[in-house]
Subunit: 109 residues, 4 copies
Amino acid sequence: MHNMTSEMKACIDECLGCYQSCITTALQHCLIAGGKHVEPMHFRLMLACSEICRTSAHFILLGSEHHKHVCKECAELCEECANSCDEIGGMDDCANKCRECAASCRSMI
Amino acid sequence: MHNMTSEMKACIDECLGCYQSCITTALQHCLIAGGKHVEPMHFRLMLACSEICRTSAHFILLGSEHHKHVCKECAELCEECANSCDEIGGMDDCANKCRECAASCRSMI
Amino acid sequence: MHNMTSEMKACIDECLGCYQSCITTALQHCLIAGGKHVEPMHFRLMLACSEICRTSAHFILLGSEHHKHVCKECAELCEECANSCDEIGGMDDCANKCRECAASCRSMI
Amino acid sequence: MHNMTSEMKACIDECLGCYQSCITTALQHCLIAGGKHVEPMHFRLMLACSEICRTSAHFILLGSEHHKHVCKECAELCEECANSCDEIGGMDDCANKCRECAASCRSMI
């Protein structure tokens, strides 16, 4: 990883960590809990957040300058996802992961 | 697409078509219908099927010989997903897409 | 695909078509042609463009409102990729696909 | 991550680590080094390996039983990729990552 700064490496870790958190929380927690946890708005957001996190990490890894724009969008989705987790409750770990990832992505912009 | 046979091109189309069908049926139909449609077994299968279809297409596009193994696995998941759609009902289009994709993937093996 | 407009469906098709074009042109044409075709700037752009196209389609399919932002970014990368294809030459089909996809993505914003 | 064993968690880490290693080695090292590093066989393998690693991790995260089959295929591609890195030389880190990931994936089968 030749031209990668420590901030970039940290952001990749945060993005892949948040991707993991959102996809497993959605599939292993929300689907089983049911009720508000599978409301379309929330569930869709969890999947959209996991996807943009994966893409964000990918753009940094590719070495594309456009990672800044993808990270900006990632930060927005992470914030929204964290708020949705807080509203429904019982997903503090995922909300924290999302906020940490959002902060890291904002440092890339 | 230099060395791509017409069977390969057809299989890419089937895989990307089935990917679209599974992901939208899960997100735009199952999540809204609720009940059996969001049972973990079924919903997980829909997402797993959409993912392997996307990967299957990607392997043919990359020109990797390993596309045969990924297509084999894709055919299995598509069959399983089609059966799950039939059991729950009301998802005939998605089940058909899955079976067409499975047939196309098997022709790649 | 319940709430999907015909523009959305067209945009998914364009995005998945451009994804296919960029990834196969990179892997089946550029890698074999060598020279300018594998210059880091160009090759990276081809892969980045194929990835954002895939993500863009995914966001429309998920039914996320954020597809607008991803489509905006996709349009920018597609334009850049088309220009890079034109500069190097011999990739008119891919450049055309990129410009069509850019136009379709801009109609989503 | 409710029903996830420590082996599963370790395998996700290996897969996402190997994905990162293959994609950055391809884009930040091979593309710049040129020559044998961008021979279609090798480069294609690097991208195919990074993709199956990403998919493998995704299947474990989704909680799909089919992760076993995807992990089996992942182990094969990782071995092949490691051998290709060794033949060309100068990519020991990536070869090691691939072999560690292959071992971890085999423990999932």
